[in-house]
């Protein structure tokens, strides 16, 4: 009895979870494996269109003979690169139709015309013509004939399914001179974006944790950048930072803080000298990181605030009795209490910043030294239209991520578990 109950429970569970599991598998897990497959192939964007046999039907009446009609099919192979094998053709006609000239490749039976055209090489074109007349000599209505569409079928190689593999993509990705630069840019973007958003998150959470008038309003406002659509925010920032008529540059010029406008999103380096040391700051990258921090610190804020509100008040009261200063309270009580949250946040934000595509794409498109790995996936795959290369870059991303997660869990996993 128990056994059957357990069995029905199992069955129900599988029925309930199966749709979700299948969908997630098809859309998320399968593409990751497909990526591995594609990355070992030389595929370009134009190759992924399946070649199709096509026919354009033109109906022409023959002068003086209303009971006869000429039909011209303009046949072609849609692909410029691949051949189509065993093309078959089928078209239907009214019952009273009789064929006048039958092509040897074709067969007319039961008022339908069937043809076997054999193989069509790439770019193949043919004008195929048939003439019909009616049995009973009645006039022909051109429209009804035109409205019937011919059906064509054929086989072609799908470049994605054959087994020609190459290591070219990975060689190109890994041994190109740009690769180190790409990695460094991605690392700067990820690391400073993560650290910045966590620091601002701590500051704002500490701030909202005090009592002041309009605190709930402040909490909503702080989350605005996180909930608003990226597209809107990125374009607003672009306008704000525009060198010619952007608000920021105009303000700085107005108050004579700078003399010439700075192209914050379009300039790769800026020379800065502090205490006599000259160094080059990657300006566009810094701006993009600022946007990143601005958009994602609310998340850190939300997490840390939730943790701060859970810290027992007694701890602070005890500290007050001992005469601790506000800074001591912050560094000795608050900070140790939120380290667990921070380490989780660090991992989450690091992974997501590492994969962030939209923000950089919308702000700079990857120009002026802001090309990160995800941007490179897009540029290789769609701008240069080399799908294989794009996939290879994706694989590099996945491998780097897995390495990061592995080391992170090795180093911090146990500590997080304990908390």
């Amino acid at each position: 009895m128990n056994d059957t109950l357990a069995n029905t429970e199992k069955k129900t569970a599988y029925i309930l979870t199966l749709p979700a599991v299948l969908l997630v598998f098809a859309i998320i897990l399968f593409p990751i494996f497909a990526n591995v497959w594609i990355s070992f192939k030389e595929v370009e964007l134009k190759d992924i269109r399946i070649p199709e046999p096509r026919a354009k039907k033109i109906v022409k009446s023959i002068s003086d003979e209303p009971s006869k009609i000429k039909i011209l099919y303009k046949l072609r192979n849609s692909s410029l690169l691949q051949e189509i094998r065993d093309v078959s053709f089928k078209d239907k006609f009214p019952k009273n139709f009789k064929i006048e000239n039958l092509d040897p490749r074709c067969d007319y039976k039961n008022s339908s015309l069937k043809c076997e055209f054999g193989n069509w090489p790439a770019k193949y074109k043919e004008n195929f013509q048939v003439i019909f007349s009616t049995n009973d000599g009645s006039n022909i209505d051109k429209k009804t004939i035109k409205s019937i569409k011919p059906k064509l079928d054929g086989n072609s190689d799908n470049i994605l399914l054959n087994t020609n593999f190459t290591l070219k993509n990975f060689k190109k990705v890994l041994f190109e001179n740009e690769f180190i630069d790409l990695l460094l840019t991605t690392f700067y973007y990820t690391f400073f974006g993560t650290i910045g958003s966590i620091v601002f998150g701590i500051l704002t959470a500490q701030m909202v944790n005090q009592k002041f008038y309009g605190r709930t309003f402040m909490r909503s406002v702080l989350l605005f950048p996180y909930v608003a659509p990226v597209v809107a925010l990125a374009y607003t920032w672009e306008l704000l930072l525009d060198p010619n008529s952007g608000t920021l540059n105009s303000l700085l010029l107005n108050y004579q803080i700078i003399e010439t406008p700075i192209n914050l999103l379009g300039q790769k380096y800026i020379e800065i000298s502090i205490f006599g040391f000259d160094f080059k700051l990657r300006l566009a990258l810094t701006t993009v990181i600022m946007f990143e921090i601005w958009r994602y610190f609310p998340l850190a804020f939300l997490f840390i605030l939730a943790r701060l509100q859970a810290i027992p008040k007694e701890l602070y009261e005890a500290a007050d009795v001992d005469g601790a200063s506000p800074f001591q309270k912050f560094f000795k009580i608050t900070l140790p209490q939120i380290t667990a949250v921070i380490s989780i946040l660090f991992m989450i934000r690091f992974i997501w910043n590492f994969n962030k595509f939209e923000d950089v794409f919308l702000l700079t498109g990857g120009a002026s030294g802001t090309r990160t790995l995800p941007i490179n996936v897009y540029q290789q795959g769609f701008a240069i239209s080399d799908i294989g290369m794009g996939s290879a870059v994706s694989i590099v991303i996945v491998v780097l991520l897995l390495m990061f997660m592995f080391f992170y869990f090795r180093l911090l996993g146990k500590r997080v578990d304990e908390n």
């Binding site: 979870t17 399968f30 909930v227 809107a232």
Partner: protein, 397 residues
């Protein structure tokens, strides 16, 4: 000790005052006033003197009169420095000064003698500074977005600092950008597409997620732990990695440029977090209710629809709102899958609009306002639900 604390207090409060006045000046500049300098030196001296004077006078004068006197002195000095400014500017300065005096009221010579008093002051002012600073930094781009959408191309080019809106003009001129984007750029259609895609994603996600979450929360089956742990790991996988294979598969299946294609992808990407959030809530529902239902011979479908769903409306709404927000804001997949303007979502349409260098920026900003407003409205209105959704689902984004 007392001198040192006095000086530190005065310095901190002065910096705070300079910050307040500077923000006010920036805002005034953006209303078209020509202010070319912050006059920081003068502000510094005045602020320092006011802080010192406040301590010296102490409680000999009622704090209300003291504040009024300080504010008036400051306004007169400031007005003398930059002349020909409208009265509302000076009134603003007066109010800021009054606020400032109100804030420094609680500090006195006696208070400064206490232990850690400078640190307390620093903390207090940092909090105040932070509130104002972050409000300004966050709200300013939104403010700019809104104002730019009401301006004309010429006005924007002539004086990029003039943010004032002329409400005296005709409504048609004021909302011109909005009329244009809805008429010439078919934004009505894009709103419809975005709405269909987002609402559709919410429903499909819930239909798939509720049964799955119920199974994970309640039933015992082989692979349950594996399933529940892999949910989050799958969720951490980046969208950018999925883009190329999905693009190739969707092109071959003819799913590109279709709402169905977007629905499938959005549902799949939001499912894991929806299941994760829901199963956590389902576990908190007392088991006895279901046991009673089983005795009444209710099937699992009955249990879910009659017991689980009515009891977990808060969790379901927070999942729904969260999924709606994700789908509405999504950009990467809509960029990849849609290249026919007839099937654009709002985000994609705005990006397409910006691709044309000729597009006037006020149209772009009007479009941005249109895409932002629904999300912000939903967020403010349902904040309680959304915040819990954000915290649970925050692995995303």
């Amino acid at each position: 000790m007392r001198t040192k604390n006095t000086i530190i207090f005065s310095l901190i409060s002065t910096f705070f005052l300079i910050f307040l006045i500077s923000i006010w000046k920036i805002l005034a500049t953006l209303q078209g006033l020509s202010i070319n300098s912050f006059n920081i030196e003068v502000l510094f001296i005045l602020g320092f003197l006011i802080s010192l004077a406040h301590l010296v006078i102490g409680s000999r004068i009622k704090s209300f009169y003291k504040s009024i006197i300080f504010s008036s002195v400051f306004v007169v000095c400031d007005g003398y420095l930059i002349q020909k400014l409208p009265i509302w500017y000076n009134l603003g300065v007066f109010l800021i000064l009054y606020f400032f005096c109100y804030k420094i009221c609680k500090y006195s010579f006696i208070g400064l003698k206490e232990e850690h008093s400078t640190q307390v002051i620093l903390f207090d002012f940092l909090t105040l500074f932070g509130i104002l600073f972050f409000s300004f930094v966050i709200l300013f781009p939104f403010y700019m977005m809104l104002v730019t959408s009401f301006k004309t191309q010429i006005a924007l080019l002539v004086n990029p600092l003039d943010f004032s809106i002329n409400f005296g003009q005709d409504m048609k001129d004021l909302f011109k950008s909005y009329f244009v984007i809805f008429k010439s750029y078919k934004f009505g259609k894009y709103i419809l597409t975005s709405t269909i895609v987002s609402v559709g994603t919410v429903f499909i996600t819930l239909i798939f997620a509720i049964p799955a979450a119920y199974a994970v929360a309640r039933l015992n089956f082989f692979g349950k732990t594996f399933l529940s742990t892999s949910i989050l790991i799958i969720y951490m996988f980046p969208a950018i990695v999925l883009v190329i294979p999905l693009y190739t598969i969707f092109s071959q299946l003819g799913l590109r440029n279709s709402i169905e294609g977007l629905l499938i992808v959005y549902t799949a990407t939001t499912l894991p977090v929806a299941i994760y959030m829901l199963q956590g809530y389902f576990k908190s529902i007392p088991k006895e209710l279901e046991e009673a239902a089983i005795l009444d011979k209710l099937s699992w479908f009955g249990i879910i629809t009659k017991i689980i769903i009515p009891l977990s409306i808060p969790a379901i709404s927070s999942v729904a709102l969260y999924v709606f927000m994700i789908a509405w804001n999504e950009f990467l997949f809509s960029l990849m899958f849609l290249d026919n303007p007839n099937s654009f979502t709002l985000s994609r349409a705005i990006q397409y609009l910006s691709g044309d260098a000729e597009t006037p920026r006020q149209y772009l900003m009007a479009g941005s306002v249109v895409v932002t407003l629904p999300v912000l409205f939903i967020f403010v209105y349902f904040e309680k639900y959304l915040v819990s959704g954000l915290t649970a689902g925050s692995v995303k984004g």
